[in-house]
């Protein structure tokens, strides 16, 4: 039987002093292996974020030296009614996405998960289609459907109910509604796929046991489906929250933020300040504010939905 002997401390110290390289190598080697990520993270995240924060404290049109203006851009943002309108519109889109799109996606997923459903793959494809269509094509088609004078929807309403002439894209309220309808149409099917995947991972035995215990459809939904779907729901909810808070394509392509600023979102505000008005410092300040809001919302959402707690 062999025995292991530990070298004395003095010997170990002398050894280390004589040959330090293996220890240092051991210490640095892991960092060397993980360094590509950190280097890329630094180059593509830390540097742009740092530059953005710095720019937000300057007045810069793109050429020449940025002029340091302290917190003037942030103070201007607080007084800018356009930014307020953009925040309010974005909040409207976000609340709609959370309150309408998310539950609707779950309901559709439940319908698609029904036993014996025919053409399941066809429905999946249909619901997923809006996500892979070009946003420009979507905007063109929605423009044709919702046009006030020659739109398909007004013509249908006129033919069926004798009412038409709704200014879908040129009335501030209706324009917001059309934007959220586009959000609904575009993203519900996409989220449905995630919910469906989650539903298919719930063991049938759980439903059968609940059924044996006398639980009806509604009770099984709340007692089995909802708790089992919690991790998926949390992921979808946080992802949707963060992405809707940065909504850009839908209002930009459909209404250009109009009429007036009725559908302007915060992302569009940033784009407009930076790339239409050459106010890069101001755009950066709005971007920083948007980042803070999205970050806080993301953290709140993560906490509220318990993301990561079930590990």
């Amino acid at each position: 039987m062999s025995t292991l002997t530990r070298p004395s401390t003095a010997t170990a110290t002398r050894g280390a002093a004589r040959a330090p390289r293996p220890g240092v190598r051991r210490q640095w080697a892991p960092y060397l292996f993980i360094s590509p990520f950190f280097l890329l993270f630094t180059v593509f995240m830390v540097v742009p974020v740092g530059a953005g924060v710095y720019l937000s404290l300057t007045d810069w049109a793109g050429l020449g030296s940025p002029e340091y203006v302290g917190l003037a851009n942030y103070s201007r943002l607080l007084r800018d009614a356009s930014f307020g309108a953009a925040l309010a519109n974005t909040a409207f889109y976000t609340v709609f996405a959370m309150v309408v799109v998310l539950p609707l996606a779950l309901l559709i997923a439940l319908a698609l998960d029904a036993r014996g459903l025919r053409l399941r793959d066809f429905f999946r494809l249909t619901y997923f289609m809006p996500v892979v269509l070009s946003p420009i094509v979507i905007a063109l088609i929605f423009g044709l459907i919702f046009d006030g004078e020659y739109g398909l929807l007004n013509a249908t309403l006129e033919a069926l109910f004798g009412v038409g002439g709704v200014s879908w894209l040129t009335d501030p309220w209706w324009a917001r509604v059309v934007v959220v309808v586009l959000v609904l149409w575009r993203w519900t099917g996409y989220l449905t796929i995630f919910f469906l995947a989650g539903l298919q991972n719930i063991p049938r035995e759980l439903h059968e046991a609940a059924e044996l215990d006398g639980a009806g459809v509604v009770r099984r939904f709340f007692a089995v489906t909802v708790p089992q779907l919690r991790p998926v729901t949390a992921f979808i909810a946080v992802t949707m929250l963060v992405s809707t808070a940065q909504i850009f394509e839908e209002p930009f392509l459909l209404t250009q933020g109009g009429p007036g600023e009725a559908t302007l979102s915060v992302s569009m505000f940033v784009y407009r300040a930076g790339f239409q008005r050459q106010e890069l410092g101001y755009a950066a300040a709005a971007g920083v504010v948007m980042f803070v809001i999205v970050f806080v919302l993301g953290r709140l959402g993560t906490r509220a939905f318990g993301v990561g707690r079930n590990r």
């Binding site: 740092g50 009614a81 356009s82 004078e149 040129t170 209404t255 250009q256 009429p259 050459q278 101001y282």
Partner: protein, 442 residues
Amino acid sequence: MDLNRRDLLRLLGVTGLGAAGAGILSGCATTTAVDPVRSGEASLGLWTHDPGYASYFTQAATDAAVVGGSAWSFGVDVTSVAPADIVSRLVTQAVAQRPLPDLAGLVIDQFPRVMRAGIAENLFVDLTSLTAPLGDRLLKTQPYTVDGKVYALESDNSISVMFYRADLFDELGIPADVDTWEELLEIGAEVAADTGQAIGMVANGDNGSIVNGFTQLLLQRGGTLYDADGNLAVLSDEAVEVLELMAEGVRTGAFVALADPYGGAAAAALKGSRLVATVMPNWYEVYGLQANAPDQEGLWRARTIPRFAGGGHVASTMGGTAFAVLKDQPLTEAATDFLRRAYLSQEGQLARYFAGAYMPTLVDLYDAPEFQEITDPYLGGQRVFEVFSAAAADMPLFYQSAGASVLRDSLGGPVLRAITGQVGAEEALRAGVRTYERQVQR
């Protein structure tokens, strides 16, 4: 040295921020001098959004009538770039000290972006020495002028006239030579009540279309968005009058409100013969009428715009693209010479018209026989320069300012509310101006 992930992140974070600051500072450094090419081969880099300009410049580069006698032998290397991206990329390339084109086509509503913070002055060659000798002969230099210096040459005057369906005017009993807007609007209201057809359109889509349509009539009336010094001048009696006229037209049905003057709704209005006349720039004949209603060839005509009873012009202007020469490039001198020959000579202007129906910018050329003899099949063989000559002679001036994009966004909503009758004209203009003054950076 003890190292953990947190320390590594901190180290990289600090390094990154330092690099960011250094990057920004180095990006602001001045460019180094280059040796100019004084003669010989000159392959000019050209950025433009419009294939028409690309083909014109490519042809002109080898057209002896245009470039004959130059010290350079030209070639053109075209890069197609979206209008808004041209300015963005010029600025980013300049900051990053990356290659720039020699010539860049700037759409008129993008030019205000280079009017602030010395961007035009730093990027573009001052072309005033080319334009000044031409004096009033050269039209439409004002929108591309910063601090009295012209930085780009307009490609197309974009003269607004009235296009109308001659067959439908006859059928509906609308005289083709109505003198004033007020008379035409009265007739238009009757036509709308009888047949539902419209004698004009107003845009109610995005802010750009709304404000462009309003500006077109405002300039015709003798008003302006900005004065020659770049001060806001939109709050005027003329502006109120124009908005009231537009609102009256929409209320009576004489004007049809369309989201996009070039899109599906306009196509439907044209094809269905609901729109029997419209005031639009010359290029609308190609991009609006011919594109959407090719089957109506020969049915349309052009005339000057009816005056407002209160005064103004018989023409207006909307849109345009001007070309600028990039400074401090090896081929800057060659590009300036090429642009002068292509844009400021009679041969160049004639070639431009035949290449893409770009209207001359030299006003006296409208009466030249080469132009006067031109007939337009889509307009029933009409000698169009008889109309455009009168229009060019009475074309209003159009001034821009660095805040033009802010004004467009500020005015869009209020103008739309005014033309749909939700608020009064003056109230709408005041609201727009208030928003503008709050937003525009002084």
